[in-house]
């Protein structure tokens, strides 16, 4: 008994010590608000604060037709490497240095919720 609770206690300490080492993952919602909303807008419709002087306008993420025309892989790629990577405008920046791949996958799912769509419809 004594030994057992000591073991649990030690395990607890080890977990405590290790946890700050793992890179903290942010939620897709917080990431979208902080990084994407400035161009794609509070409602995700592409009407963000920055758009007035932009020569190419941000995508409306609620547009099921346009977003349904992209595979999850393409959306992953455009977030990670920027518009340039899928032959779209460089005004869509690359975010690969900001997010982990897991966070980008979460963002892809988040965008699928926003457009209420899948690839092909």
């Amino acid at each position: 008994m004594q030994n057992n609770s000591m073991g649990v206690f030690l395990l607890f300490i080890v977990v405590l010590l290790l946890s700050p080492l793992a890179e903290a993952s942010e939620t897709a919602k917080d990431n979208y608000r902080t990084y994407c909303m400035q161009c794609h807008g509070m409602q995700g419709t592409g009407m963000g604060l920055n758009i007035r002087d932009m020569s190419v306008q941000p995508r409306d993420h609620t547009d099921a037709k346009a977003m349904g025309g992209r595979t999850d892989d393409e959306i992953f790629k455009v977030i990670k490497e920027g518009g340039f990577a899928i032959s779209k405008s460089v005004l869509m920046p690359p975010w690969g240095d900001v997010f982990t791949d897991d966070e980008i996958n979460d963002l892809v799912k988040y965008l699928r919720d926003l457009c209420k769509c899948k690839f092909g419809g």
Partner: protein, 245 residues
């Protein structure tokens, strides 16, 4: 004559005894600035912490600012960030007035951020002393070490703007003249006067190194273009925008 003597005595009495400029400046920082600005670091490590930040971090001010600009700005502060320190606090969704856009809303600034910046201002001697104290805050000398501006990588304003807008899309977030460009980054038409070239090189190369959660992406700027963009920003800051208006 008596009055004059009295006045001289009074001035002598009111003016505090001269102290070491550095000490004086750091007292001002502690007493009047620390309640808003982080003077010790580190920068916010999570989004939630970032959202709590009320004022720009100053703990690496000595690696970032040009002293002359600080002395001037501290006496006459003007807005640097057109959407404030955190744009999420200053935007609102408003209906589109244009009849052709169906039922869309667009994001606009609202509230105090639309009015001139309210920031405490310092007297000339205080500004000098505080600028000295700020220039001593060098927590990120590691990040500017080896960052050297190559003045031979020159561009004119037109070619600089092409890089800044068409090639790297920086204009989406930064203004290059008052009212032209984006809102969520700091204005950059005074960047060349405000910031040290080594800071600009390092920040553009990897914003995350300075501010882990900031909403500026790493644009993967090529080394040559990085030099050209910073030379462009320095050239741009020599324009007299007040005269143009």
């Amino acid at each position: 004559m008596k009055r004059l003597l009295f006045l001289v005595a009074l001035i002598g009495f009111v003016t505090p005894a001269p102290v070491g400029a550095g000490e004086n400046g750091s007292k001002i920082l502690q007493n009047r600035c620390a309640k808003c600005h982080d003077l010790t670091g580190p920068a916010p490590q999570t989004i939630r912490k970032l959202w709590e930040r009320d004022a720009p971090d100053l703990f690496y001010a000595g690696n970032k600012f040009r002293r002359e600009w600080l002395v001037e700005w501290l006496q006459k502060p003007v807005r640097v960030r057109p959407a404030g320190v955190n744009y999420l606090r200053t935007i609102n969704s408003a209906p589109v007035r244009d009849a052709e856009e169906k039922d869309k809303n667009y994001d606009v600034l609202y509230g105090a951020v639309l009015r001139p910046l309210k920031h405490l201002s310092l007297k000339p001697a205080e500004a000098e002393a505080t600028a000295d104290a700020l220039m001593d805050l060098k927590a990120h000398s590691d990040l500017v070490a080896g960052m050297q501006l190559d003045r031979n990588k020159k561009v004119d304003l037109d070619r600089g703007e092409v890089l800044f807008d068409k090639v790297y899309g920086c204009l989406s977030c930064h203004q290059i003249e008052p009212g032209f460009g984006g809102y969520t980054g700091s204005e950059l038409y005074t960047a060349g006067r405000r910031l040290q070239p080594a800071f600009m090189l390092s920040y553009i190369k990897r914003p995350k190194n300075w501010d882990p959660k900031i909403w500026m992406p790493n644009g993967n700027v090529k080394p040559d273009d990085l030099q050209k963009i910073v030379n462009y920003l320095i050239l741009l800051s020599k324009e007299d925008f007040n005269a143009a208006n």
